[in-house]
């Protein structure tokens, strides 16, 4: 039986992880893309990404694009698995509870 993931369950982190899971497995999204997509501040997004990175759910790659620093975020296999389990747990609640 699938279990809810308390780290992913937080609404902003749930949106971030859901967005990353919508990309192909080898895909990554740039920091400002996620920030603008979900209408977050730099600090807010950064704090949530740190928590996800500490749990091993995302990896961050800092690079330069046209001489500007960019951070690309990729959902790890562990993170993808945790997200899938979390969604299954949510769907199970809808099935089980009247």
């Amino acid at each position: 039986m699938a279990n809810l993931d308390t780290l992913i369950h937080q609404p902003v982190r749930l949106r971030i992880v859901a967005s990353l899971s919508a990309l192909p497995e080898d895909g990554s999204a740039e920091f400002t893309f996620l920030r603008d997509l979900h209408d977050l501040t730099d600090g807010n997004l950064g704090a949530h990404l740190r928590k996800l990175e500490e749990a091993g759910y995302v990896s961050l790659e800092k690079t330069f694009v046209e001489r500007k620093p960019r951070t690309f975020i990729t959902l790890s296999r562990k993170g993808r698995k945790a997200f899938v389990e979390h969604v299954k747990a949510l769907e199970q609640i809808l099935k089980d509870k009247p």
Binding site: S21, A22, E30, E91
Partner: protein, 183 residues
Amino acid sequence: MDRHEAHESLEIVRQAMEQTQSAVARAGMGYMFIIWGIVWLVGFLGSQFLGELQGYLWLALDVFGIVGTAVVILKSSRRVRTAHGKRIGIFWLMIFIYGGLLFWITGPIEGNRYLLFITTLVAFAYAIMGIWFSPPLLYIGLCITALAIVGWQLIPAYLGIWLALVGGGGLIISGIFVLRVKA
């Protein structure tokens, strides 16, 4: 957690995934369809009316298409990266190279057969991409091929206009559809 909270969480997931896919689609495929739709629309109309000058027109339009594609790819890769993007770029390069080789091996192709050669080669590429990445591309490729053959058989004297409308117009409409449906 109760049912209502679970439902709200799943709704957050659904919206986030749709927003992401929409943003990525807007960044790439939609604009590509429109750029190459314009190339085909103008190019095939030129083929119908310009005679021997059409070669120069196609050359200029291909430069426009390639530059436009490069700009779209560069802009979208600043925000989202996937290995798909690199593979798609290499795939189209191979289509271009093999198309040129086939053209050279088969000898001079002129008139309507030349127009059909370009059309069916590109439609083939869309169909293959559709099998690997996105089913709608397969249907677009097959439709363009079918309509091109129908036009060639039924109205050969107006094939350029036909291809401009169904090929070029079809791609432009597909691009607008992708950008609007996913918005």
